[in-house]
């Protein structure tokens, strides 16, 4: 097990104004007893609404924030006590922070990192070559970081985090603010990292498409507690999110008509459009039954939206 946290807590003390001069101290739990275990090579999506405690957890796992309680080890080390030792074995990308040298070309930031992490020349060259091919760094590697676009900088940040061959890669909203193409490039790259299986990845994001495309396992945190830990399918199953068939009809939907294994959830357009949620039957069976019952003009099958499920989870 490469990451293990048991009962991980972080409390912050905040002062609230009471009356004109008085202030009251309140303790707010940003992370409230998180249990997490991650196996080597796993790619974990760690999501939650704003203020749920994602970044706080990540800071405790990387050793820049001392937990208020609980136990945590990363690569077998206690993160805060062994922060500098751990730093050689992990890579971190904070989407809204930069670890590159603002005034220097990207290439120089990379070579500086090689010295800081004491990476052998050949390893550095091999990893840089791989990253430049996959992330198309060549066109801007000689540009000073301050002149890079956000998408280019993020590709640089990912490379910088991987050049020392970390065992665990922590990504805090790596696709925030990126355009569609840059997001795609980052996701494809991370999918490649996941496929090779030698780097464990913990990804926090608000973009659920990142999770769907990359992570088999999903941990959802809300108000500092883990509210789901499992696959995306398990999440759908838990919230009974169902596939939906939307059918356009030549004649209006007959009142009271039901189909086995599907629920009619809405009838619109003067009865010419019907929406059915699958409930036990396959899409094929329902479509066959539908075609037998009414004259069909058009039909589509929609997968359940992860966003809807997550929204249900956050609200509950």
């Amino acid at each position: 097990m490469i990451i293990s946290a048991r009962g991980l807590r972080k409390d912050f003390t905040v002062n609230r104004k009471v009356g004109r001069f008085r202030r009251e101290r309140h303790v707010v739990s940003a992370v409230d007893g998180v249990d997490l275990s991650v196996e080597r090579g796993e790619m974990l999506g760690y999501i939650g609404p704003n203020g749920a405690g994602k970044s706080t957890t990540l800071k405790m796992l990387t050793g820049v924030l001392t937990p208020s309680g609980g136990e945590v080890t990363v690569c077998g080390l206690a993160p805060v006590a062994k922060r500098t030792t751990l730093a050689r074995r992990i890579g971190v990308v904070f989407g809204q922070r930069s670890q590159l040298w603002w005034d220097l070309p990207l290439a120089e930031s990379f070579s500086l990192l090689r010295h800081i992490y004491r990476v052998p020349d050949s390893d550095h060259a091999a990893r840089l070559k791989m990253c430049s091919q996959l992330l198309a760094l060549d066109e801007f590697i000689e540009t000073p970081v301050r002149q890079l676009s956000l998408g280019q900088r993020m590709r640089g940040e990912l490379t910088a985090a991987l050049l020392h061959g970390p065992e665990v890669l922590f990504l805090d909203e790596p696709t925030i603010g990126l355009d569609v193409l840059s997001k795609q490039a980052v996701r494809d790259f991370l999918a490649g990292v996941a496929t090779r299986g030698d780097t464990t990845v913990v990804l926090t994001t608000h973009d659920l498409a990142d999770i769907e495309k990359l992570c088999r396992r999903l941990v959802v945190i809300d108000h500092g507690r883990v509210v789901h830990d499992g696959t995306v399918d398990e999440l759908h199953a838990r919230y009974r999110s169902r596939r939906v068939i939307v059918a356009d009809l030549d004649t209006p939907w007959p009142d009271g008509l039901t189909l086995p294994g599907a629920d009619v959830t809405s009838v619109t357009a003067d009865g010419h459009r019907v929406t059915l949620a699958l409930d036990g039957a396959t899409a094929g069976e329902v479509v066959a039954a539908l075609a037998g019952a009414v004259p069909l003009r058009d039909l589509s099958v929609q997968e359940p939206e992860i966003e809807d499920v997550i929204a249900k989870l956050y609200r509950s």
Binding site: G63, T84, A87, I90, Q99, W101, H115, I116
Partner: protein, 266 residues
């Protein structure tokens, strides 16, 4: 120098080397103010019978022009990136590296100082030498002592500014501290006027109890051989002692700051 340190120093050098126009503008400004200050001090000396607080014409010209050059090398007016990085939360990236940020910043700062010596120090010094004629040291060892004293001045300045940067962990907005520092370090380092013009007790107190004279007056007095080689050695020893003390204070303050750490805005 080991490779990590060399890489960090040369990165510090190149970071500043990219800003060519700023370097030219800075050297130009230092030179213009050099003329102003030099004419004022020389006319004061002329009315006071040729010397000011024991400095003659060439010593005063050296004090002004090398002082104008050292201004950019010692850089006591410029704050380190540290404070801004604490405020923005970017400091978290510094803490996630396998090297102590104190040393990372220090080596980068030495690179910056090297670049400034080659540009912003040399230009005013050369112009001053051509326009006014500077003091020529009697002993060859003075040049070596001046180099040592300047290095110590850079390190003292670095430590003080690192402490100011660290104060951002508690204050977040360090503008007040910065204004206070700029005033005190300018006044007490001998930047505005030679410290010898102050009352004896005050000047002695500054030399003995504060690191400030080590920022400017120290290297400049070494260069004009004020008090001879003996005094120059004393100045250098004092500066080196301050570097040691301040580095320890930086280490201690950094440990406190990191313990307190709550990265802003995350």
């Amino acid at each position: 120098m080991p490779r990590v340190q060399l890489a960090l120093t040369s990165a510090g050098f190149r970071r500043y080397a990219t800003y060519r126009q700023a370097t030219v503008a800075g050297a130009f400004t230092n030179t213009v103010f050099g003329f102003l200050r030099c004419y004022i001090l020389l006319s004061v000396a002329a009315t006071a019978g040729g010397t000011v607080a024991g400095y003659g014409g060439p010593e005063l010209a050296t004090y002004v022009w090398m002082g104008q050059g050292l201004l950019a090398v010692v850089a006591s007016w410029d704050q380190l990136d540290l404070a801004e990085r604490v405020r923005s939360g970017d400091v978290v990236a510094d803490l996630l590296r396998p090297v102590d940020p104190l040393w990372t910043y220090l080596w980068g700062e030495l690179g910056r100082a090297c670049f400034m010596v080659l540009t912003r120090f040399l230009v005013p010094t050369l112009i001053g030498a051509i326009a006014f004629g500077l003091y020529r040291p009697q002993h060859a060892v003075t040049y070596a002592l001046f180099a040592l004293s300047t290095l110590a001045a850079v390190l003292i300045s670095f430590c003080c500014r690192y402490l100011i940067g660290l104060s951002a962990f508690w204050l977040l907005d360090i503008r007040g501290v910065t204004v206070f520092w700029v005033f005190v370090s300018g006044f007490a380092s001998g930047l505005y006027f030679p410290l010898a013009v102050l009352p004896g007790w005050l000047s002695t107190a500054l030399w003995v109890a504060t690191p400030f004279p080590g920022l400017m007056q120290g290297p400049l007095d070494v260069m004009v051989e004020r008090g001879g080689i003996g005094n120059a050695l004393l100045v250098c020893v004092g500066q080196v002692a301050w570097v040691g003390i301040l580095l320890l204070v930086c280490k201690w303050a950094q440990a406190r700051a990191v313990r307190k750490l709550v990265v802003q805005g995350g």
